[in-house]
């Protein structure tokens, strides 16, 4: 029987400070979107693949950050989920290669590789079938985007009939293609040979040529360590056009979750998806026995929401939250143990764990997910006193706001 394994790259603490201030308290992969940790969404998608044997999370966070989660999700899904800690960053392909023996334990015929901070519908089963038809070494999930935004990503050129990957370039300055790399791949075990070739080639290069110090400064790779192999630049690019790599296009949504603002947007995308895949997870209510619900809303079973509150659209309420009478919540993520007191209004914001929102206070933002201050973020244990207004601001943990603020970062 052909077995399949999945590898999810979760990154580590020093990589990227863009998720601050939320990353002060929790590793980004465990930050909740639509009521479930970020990494849960690709994991659930992997569970739908037939003959899935194991799921591996690879990263360089401390093991203890993932122990609880990994054990509970293994139990819940009845499938082994393991966290493998890299001793140092090896790059997206290098990490895969570093743990190849463990990954190949069950002798899988196919290996999925996913980036944890990607938000999409993960059409993995269809992607696997397409990959088997192409019979290449790997298949890359791609999506069409607008020409202007394409340059932020890896751009690919694919043959319209055979779907072969013809050309790949990372963040080009000029327009190459409007098809971009989604950060989701499926490979056959040949990928390990390909990665090893790259490492060996790099070592040979270093030995053969004696670069002058001027050249080493100019070279964009700046002498990367031999075992640091990036999937995009080091594998996709050189293997393009050699009938080894293919593409599978998704027509659904796709976003990268790099900032807190984007996590609010992606939470909304997953909530909308629940309407089709797991409608029982969404809240319902009409204001009589329970609060009025508008649009897609998730409420954790332990949260208490007053019947006169109106919640939604795109609201996710975590464990032990108390939402008082007359509260209005629109477009927000309310994290664990928050208290939202009577008649408060929260719009386009993320309210951090254990925070308190005072009576008649107003926490809001424009809702521009890409702007630096487009979503208001309150860190852990922030107290917004009664009647205070917080607009387009970011507040670091443990602050008490007793005067209104606008367009500010409060340290």
């Amino acid at each position: 029987m052909e077995k399949v394994v999945a590898v999810i790259m979760v990154g580590g603490p020093t990589k990227g400070t863009r998720f601050r201030p939320l990353s002060f308290n929790t590793p980004k992969p465990l930050f909740p979107l639509a009521g479930q940790p970020m990494v849960h969404h690709p994991i659930s998608a992997c569970k739908r693949i037939p003959n899935l044997a194991q799921i591996f999370l690879i990263g360089f966070y401390e093991e203890r950050e993932f122990t609880l989660y990994v054990s509970s999700i293994s139990n819940e899904l009845k499938i082994p989920v393991r966290y493998l800690k890299e001793d140092k960053p090896h790059g997206s392909a290098g990490g895969l290669y570093y743990f190849r023996n463990i990954i190949m334990e069950d002798n899988p015929s196919h290996i999925f590789l996913l980036n944890c901070d990607v938000c999409c519908s993960f059409p993995l089963t269809d992607m696997l079938e397409a990959h088997k038809r192409y019979s290449g070494m790997g298949t890359v999930l791609v999506i069409k985007v607008s020409a202007e935004s394409a340059s932020q990503f890896g751009e690919l050129v694919a043959d319209p009939i055979t779907k072969e990957l013809l050309h790949y370039t990372e963040k080009p300055e000029t327009f190459v293609s409007d098809l971009i790399n989604c950060g989701v791949y499926v490979f056959t075990p040949d990928i390990f040979t390909a990665i090893q070739e790259v490492s060996t080639h790099r070592e040979d290069q270093a030995n053969l040529r004696h670069l002058t110090s001027f050249e080493t400064l100019q070279s964009p790779t700046r002498a990367l360590p031999q075992d640091f192999v990036r999937l995009d630049q080091d594998i996709l690019s050189p293997f393009a056009g050699k009938k080894q790599l293919y593409t599978y296009e998704t027509m659904d949504f796709w976003e990268q979750i790099k900032t807190p603002g984007m996590s609010l947007k992606c939470s909304g995308l997953y909530l909308a998806q629940f309407r089709y895949t797991s409608p029982d997870l969404l809240a319902g209510g009409d204001g009589t026995k329970s609060a009025s619900i508008v649009g897609d809303v998730y409420v954790h079973p332990s949260a208490k929401v007053h019947p006169t509150a109106k919640i939604g659209a795109n609201v996710s309420i975590s464990a032990n939250v108390r939402v008082g009478a007359g509260v209005r919540l629109i477009g927000c993520i309310i994290l664990d143990d928050v208290e939202v007191q009577e008649n408060a209004v929260v719009i386009n914001s993320i309210v951090g764990w254990k925070s308190s929102i005072g009576k008649w206070s107003r926490v809001q933002a424009d809702g521009d997910y890409n702007a630096k201050l487009g979503i208001t973020i309150l860190g852990e244990a922030v107290i917004v006193e009664d009647e205070v207004v917080v607009i387009n601001s970011i507040v670091l943990p443990n602050k008490t706001l007793n005067v209104s603020v606008q367009d500010e970062i409060i340290l």
Partner: protein
């Protein structure tokens, strides 16, 4: 004798420095802030210091172990499980502060830097025979603070006025108290304010006296005051003809350099600069009115003024940092970067200039 240092809070005003260590361990003049106070207490014979904390106790406890040995003074912790205000922590530490001897104990606010004339305060306290003594300091703008209204000759305190709208006096609470054990009977174990609840009662019984603090005083809980405080501290070192201050043609005004720091040639350092252990200041660097914390490297030809550079950061060549630029721990500025009041959180690399005051997360 015993002492309690109110460490409390999260030190949010001193962020980004306090994102890396709890506030009392942030270095001031090359020493953890709280060490200045502990040393002053040890000097007048205090045998045990209790730290009233509520945040990051593990970090504080590790620090204690190191310094207990070095200083030869007993240091313990009293941990609040809920915020107890400015007086509650004193009640919480009751058992540690009373030893049956009837001797008064000190209470210090950890954010404060001053000359700590504690011996004079003990004599003052014995002299007036009251129940409690507090240090007050004269300020230019009393209405920003809580004003202590007192009799000029005896120092007997009449009342406290919080942020007065009209002029009632120019002496404010300096955050240094000497209390008889009987004061503990006046403080309940709940969130209590010493200025609003406890002291006014003692003053009403004519048992509270205030001594005007000679020398400088500063609340260094925020970056601007931290820099001013360093100037005052170094000035006071100069007055005592301290050999700790650097001399030589490369130094201007008062400069404190740790002996393990290395300074290149052609530099001009000062006035009012502190350079911490293991720092490397390369050639041609100009530093004024700034603090350079442990392990920082400042590369050649750079100019830094009115700034604080956090532990283990590096500043590139030909950079210019000014106007309250604060770099957190492990921040790396590239060559030729200009920062006008940039506040940079820990573990960041900055390659482009910051043209106006901005927080970089």
């Amino acid at each position: 004798m015993k002492a309690l240092i109110l460490v409390g809070g999260f030190g949010t005003r001193l962020r980004p420095l306090t994102l890396s260590v709890p506030k009392p361990l942030v270095d001031f003049a090359n020493k953890p802030m709280i060490l200045h106070q502990i040393e002053a207490l040890k000097a007048i014979g205090v045998t045990e210091v209790v730290l009233a904390i509520n945040y990051q106790p593990e970090v504080m406890l590790n620090f204690l172990k190191e310094f207990e040995k070095k200083l030869g003074i007993k240091i313990t912790c009293s941990q609040e499980t809920e915020p107890l205000g400015t007086a509650g922590p004193i009640a919480l530490a009751r058992d540690k502060l009373i030893d049956g001897s009837g001797e008064p104990f000190f209470v210090l606010n950890s954010d404060v830097i001053s000359e700590y004339p504690l011996k004079e305060m003990v004599n003052f306290h014995k002299g007036h025979g009251g129940e409690a003594s507090i240090m007050v300091t004269k300020v230019d703008e009393p209405s920003k603070y809580g004003v202590v209204v007192m009799e000029e000759t005896t120092g007997k305190v009449e009342k406290f006025v919080e942020k007065p709208q009209i002029f009632v006096g120019n002496k404010i609470n300096a955050g240094i108290y000497l209390l008889n054990p009987s004061v503990l009977n006046r403080i309940e174990l709940r969130p209590t304010s010493i200025e609003k609840e406890v002291f006014p009662k003692i003053a009403a019984e004519n048992k509270l006296y205030a001594m005007v603090l000679p020398g400088f005083w500063m609340d260094i809980g925020q970056p601007k005051d931290y820099i001013t405080g360093l100037r005052m501290y170094l000035k006071s070192l100069r007055k005592k003809s301290s050999t700790k201050l650097s001399t030589g043609s490369h130094f201007v005004g008062n400069v404190l350099v740790d002996e393990s720091a290395v300074i290149g040639y052609g530099c001009l350092i000062g006035p009012d600069v502190a350079i911490g252990p293991g720092c490397i200041i390369e050639s041609g660097v100009r530093l004024s009115r700034c603090t350079i914390m442990r392990g920082v490297r400042i590369k050649k030809y750079t100019c830094v003024s009115n700034s604080i550079i956090g532990w283990h950061s590096t500043v590139g060549k030909w950079a210019r940092l000014e106007n309250m630029t604060i770099l957190g721990e492990d921040v790396h500025l590239g060559d030729e970067v200009y920062s006008n009041g940039g506040v940079v959180l820990p573990h960041k690399e900055i390659k482009s200039s910051i043209l106006k005051p901005e927080i970089v997360m």
